[in-house]
């Protein structure tokens, strides 16, 4: 198990022109580390980060899309793995930060903390799937996360972060979406 924020700091240090899609607690950690127009915050409906990412991957094939999902979030849209496995975007990496809880909603456990996300991804024909438990293992996977032909799926086992109210108001501002469109010339 690792500290999610430390893992995200390692990823942030390697990011260049990728579009990073994040959601809930992972998003609040991400935005505290790195501000950039190419950040996309999945808002409006829990669970859809990977669906937003899939649309972005198809819309912007010249860019790598990296989705920073949560385990509670992914469970709300688990069939997304089947859709992604079928569409198979080559520029797509889906990371689920697994802490076994709905951290953003009070830290309640997910229905089954023993769920095998990597196994689900493989069963959905996302063959490039892995699980990492330590910061060193995550660091070793960074090239793969950033450059391996997709779709890539990674389950990153992390410790539970701070439970408590987090503000999403700033990250959900329309100005951020406009900035992303401008950066992409869309």
């Amino acid at each position: 198990m690792m500290d999610r924020k430390k893992a995200l700091e390692l990823l942030a240090a390697r990011i260049t022109d990728e579009i990073v899609v994040s959601t809930y607690s992972t998003a609040t950690d991400w935005i505290s580390i790195i501000e950039r127009p190419l950040n996309y915050f999945s808002s409006g409906a829990m669970g859809l980060a990977s669906s937003h990412g899939l649309g972005l991957a198809l819309a912007r094939p010249e860019r790598r899309i990296i989705v920073l999902d949560g385990d509670g979030s992914l469970l709300m849209n688990l069939p997304t793995l089947v859709t992604i496995g079928r569409v198979a975007p080559r520029n797509f990496t889906h990371l689920v930060f697994r802490n076994g809880t709905y951290e953003a909603n009070g830290g309640h456990p997910i229905p089954n903390p023993d769920v095998d996300f990597e196994g689900h991804a493989r069963a959905a024909h996302i063959g490039k799937a892995f699980t990492v438990d330590t910061l060193d293992a995550f660091r070793d996977r960074l090239d793969y996360i950033l450059h391996e032909e997709g779709p890539v799926f990674g389950c990153v086992n992390v410790e539970q972060g701070v439970i408590g109210p987090r503000s999403y108001k700033d990250m959900y501002k329309a100005e951020r979406r406009a900035a992303l469109r401008e950066a992409l010339g869309a």
């Binding site: 409906a45 669906s51 937003h52 198809l58 979406r177 869309a186």
Partner: protein, 176 residues
Amino acid sequence: MNAPSTQPPGKLRGATVINEIKKAGVGYILSVPDLHTSTGLLRPLSVDPDFKHIRVCKEDECLGIAAGLTYGNIRSLMLVQYTGFLYAMNAIRGVAIEQKLPICMMIGMLGKEPGVPPQESRRFGLRIIEPILDVLGIQRTCIETDADAPRISAAIDEAWRTSRPTAILIGGRPEA
């Protein structure tokens, strides 16, 4: 809001609907199968080389995918049954409406009586669709026959011009 044509109920051909979708410049079809549009619309759309087709597992996926596609200015059409529209309500609220995105929903009105306006249907699930759309503030039009079909491309163009979602109710069952 456009009223559907009423008397007499004419035919709605799938080819007419598809021509309108093409006219509107739609590139992606995002679908969950619906018996109402299955033969006349979804099957021909799924093999038409002018479209990329993604079969999703559940309707709310469409909202995320369609939102992402807008970042490449790619028009998509979500093709679902009215029950799927109801299922995806929170995503429609949170993604399409609150983010002011031009998400275009084509909604099959399975079981609607030919020529009968949706709000006068005997089926509860169909009667509530237009009032729900009105509460949500989503523009809507109902396509009953070929004569209504020009509203399809107009609705999609308007959605993109105003960056707002739109709902195209397929009242008549499209013929192959």
